[in-house]
Amino acid sequence: MNDHLRPAVMALLSLTLLTGLVYPLAVTGLAQILFPHQANGSVIVRNGKIIGSSLIGQPFDAAQYFWGRPSATAPFPYNSAASSGSNVGPTNEALIKAVQARIAALKAADPGHVRPIPVDLVTASGSGLDPHICPAAAEYQVHRVARARALDEATVRQVVAQHTHGRQFGILGEPRVNVLELNLALDAMH
């Protein structure tokens, strides 16, 4: 076994140098030169200050904002320093109770709105930071947001459409609406 000791230690050291320092630093260097905006978190900057990231959702529960996916991060929703899903199983009573509470909150914020609620609006995302909702979930909220902002629904729908992305290359993934960007755009209208 002693024959193997020197090559084992030296191979580990040399490969650590190569794959643990040279490789990640090379990627960092190239990324910072080629794609600095993305490499640093796709942050949205207004007046020289970072006000969010277009890839990380934020929590909303006011009537005038579109709400994103429910988030199960602790201790508060959309805690982007500790990403997490809920991990509740499909037959867990806690899941059913949580969905009921979310339905109740949506209905309380917009009484009289009776359409069925799209499932992504009442189920927690995998990361707890999902920046998107589906177009149906945005459409469901247009009525409430328009009323809270004293805008007509067509105007709100138009802003939603501007922030709706189709499938990538027309085939990959799902159509989606970026909630933070949509809410920022609505605020900017005033």
């Binding site: 794609f35 509740v88 990361s127 999902d130 589906c134 085939i171």
Partner: protein, 601 residues
């Protein structure tokens, strides 16, 4: 299920098939020491490593020396990763000031990353410094994958050679795997990930004000950090407000690229590839699924090329992809059907072009159901174990799919290297079973399969179920095992079965509700991962040594051809039968009974 979902899955299979031959051909050249272009650029680094290691590249090893070198290298890696975690508080590149990782967790994590498992009992962005991620996790992602590749190549040489005592040089196979295959592919993939939005920076986390500050309730902790209780014995809660968000960033893309290419799976962030900074777009999701299956699939061609008959490789790949395809569709169907209890509340789960529908708990909107089902199946068919959605929240049958994929023994593509050497063991069992049926001595690729080979093969397929079921049984009857369970009922049993199926097959994904960061799971899990990886690796190398010594038997009229559809069916039958017979009783107690409970309402 939608037409678009079917197209996305079909597109993945086409892309994978298109890459098998060119990459497999290239890898055969790498391992046969032939000119392949990159050696001109990187040859000097390769020779420098041999020089400082004192290794003569042309010197071959018998199986014992090969196994000894492999074990010594991995032991050094295990110790280094343990030490790095314990000392990270004193080391640089730690902008969040994380302290030493506790001993049991550090042992579990060191065992996990050296065995190519990447089970994570910690959350990345709340535990590990940038330096630990770079020098520890990223390095082991490369070298644990390369270890698997080296063992596979040794076994292939065992088949390809005749009357030979040696099976190659471990150091050469290791270094060439890293230098000529893993590093170049990772570099390209990492940059594509960044271009889409994956983060790659050494700066500290950013504080960001929230557009709308939020009031929420949080549990109150008493002086000792335990949840405080009110008069009725309920946990006390208090109002709190939050007005900013801390964006966790870091050198993620470089680690994510190799975590998929090397079928490792350990996320930079806790939410793994569901996290938008690891996998920001549907394209990155597509590439990550492709990457985690790419090398394992291409190795079937490398194998065929090195044994001199590429049809042998295609037959094995066909068996793998047929099983994978069937289970992907199964998972997609189960998740599309959704959760009847949520449907009963008046929620719309119908998939359309305006919404993903189905069971969206634990899933991301940009990926939807088809991508999540494909990812879950591919990540467990290979030994990757990364996730883009939370498996614990899948429907019972949707969650059964990843469980079964692991319980097949990680041979449906499997880990880079380890998957194919596992599958070749099943091929040996398959020809043995066929030989029994017609009363002939079994042979595979011109090598007679005799009692020594059958003993090794039987040990190889029996050890894993013993470990998995044995430790599951211990965990579910002890307090320390039970107390970590999160979901009630049969799902709680599934969490434990999933944990040991994952660690016992070096996969690394989890039903994440299980609180795995306890001494019990950290220590038993660490032992399980080490046994699963190295016991099998040693037996495989013993088998390689025995096969290399054998003479070639010319094929005769009694030889079972192993490149035909008949053999593909036989191979699938062997894998499925062994897996199902072993695990069906356990599955019946977990996901199957839960499914019946769910549909009954």
């Amino acid at each position: 299920m939608t037409l678009n979902g079917g197209l996305q899955i079909g597109l993945y299979f086409l892309a994978l098939l298109a890459l098998v031959k060119p990459l497999g051909w290239y890898m055969a050249r790498v391992y046969e020491g032939q000119v392949m272009g990159l050696d001109r650029v990187l040859g000097s680094i390769e020779r420098w490593i041999y020089r400082i290691c004192g290794v003569r590249a042309g010197e071959e090893m018998d199986w014992r020396a090969y196994a000894g070198a492999m074990l010594m290298f991995n032991a050094a890696g295990l110790l280094a990763l343990y030490a790095l975690q314990r000392l990270q508080g004193l080391l640089p590149l730690n902008p969040q000031g994380f302290g030493a990782v506790p001993p049991d967790l550090a042992f579990n994590t060191a065992a996990s990353f050296t065995t190519n498992t990447n089970w994570q009992a910690y959350g990345g962005e709340t535990t590990m410094s940038y330096l630990t991620n770079m020098l520890g996790m990223t390095v082991q992602n490369f070298v644990s994958a390369a270890t698997g590749m080296a063992i596979l190549v040794a076994l292939i040489r065992g088949f390809a050679r005749r009357s030979d005592t040696t099976i190659g040089n471990f150091w050469v196979d290791l270094v060439r795997s890293v230098l000529y295959i893993l590093v170049p592919l990772s570099l390209i993939l990492a940059l594509v990930l960044v271009s889409q939005g994956a983060v790659q920076t050494l700066s500290s986390y950013h504080a960001v004000p929230l557009l709308q500050s939020l009031r929420y309730e949080r549990p109150v902790a008493d002086a000792s950090g335990q949840p405080a209780l009110d008069d009725k014995g309920q946990p006390k809660r208090e109002q709190a407000a939050v007005s900013e968000q801390i964006l966790a960033v870091g050198p993620a893309a470089s680690q994510v690229a190799i975590k998929h290419l090397g079928t490792n799976g350990g996320g930079f962030f806790n939410a793994n590839s569901a996290h938008p900074f690891e996998s920001p777009s549907p394209l990155t999701d597509f590439l990550l699924i492709l990457a985690e299956t790419l090398l394992a699939a291409a190795f079937t061609y490398t194998f065929g090329k090195m044994v001199g008959d590429t049809r042998q490789g295609w037959a094995i790949l066909a068996a793998m992809l047929i099983v994978l395809g069937i289970f992907v569709v199964g998972a997609y169907q189960a998740e599309s059907a959704g959760n009847p209890r949520i449907a009963a509340l008046g929620v719309n789960q119908q998939a359309s072009d305006l919404q993903p529908g189905g069971n969206m708990e634990g899933k991301e909107v940009r990926f939807g159901l088809a991508r999540s089902a494909l990812f879950a199946t591919a990540t467990t068919a290979t030994s990757t174990g990364a996730v883009n959605s939370m498996h614990d929240s899948f429907t019972p049958l949707g969650g059964l799919v990843p469980l079964v994929m692991m319980q097949f023994g990680e041979v449906i593509l499997g880990g880079v290297g380890s998957g194919l050497y596992g599958m070749l063991i099943f091929a040996i069992i398959a020809v043995f079973v066929a030989g029994l049926m017609v009363g002939r001595t079994p042979e595979y690729l011109g090598k007679k399969i005799e009692s020594y080979e059958m003993k090794m093969a039987s040990l190889l397929i029996l050890i894993m179920p013993m470990i998995v079921l044995g430790f599951t049984a211990v965990a579910v009857v002890t307090d320390s095992g039970q107390s970590s369970i999160f979901n009630p009922g049969p799902h709680g049993f599934s969490e434990v079965l999933y944990a040991y199926s994952s660690m016992g097959n070096n996969n690394g994904s989890a039903f994440g509700g299980l609180n795995a960061n306890t001494s019990f799971y950290n220590l038993t899990g660490g032992v399980v991962m080490l046994m699963a990886r190295f016991w099998l690796a040693i037996l495989t190398l013993a088998l390689a040594g025995s096969l290399a010594r054998k003479k070639l038997v010319p094929s005769g009229p009694g030889t079972l051809p192993t490149h035909t559809p008949l053999f593909v069916v036989l191979l699938i039958g062997t894998v499925v039968l062994v897996g199902v017979l072993t695990f069906l009783p356990a599955l019946a107690l977990g996901p199957i009974v839960e499914h019946l409970l769910m549909v009954k309402g």
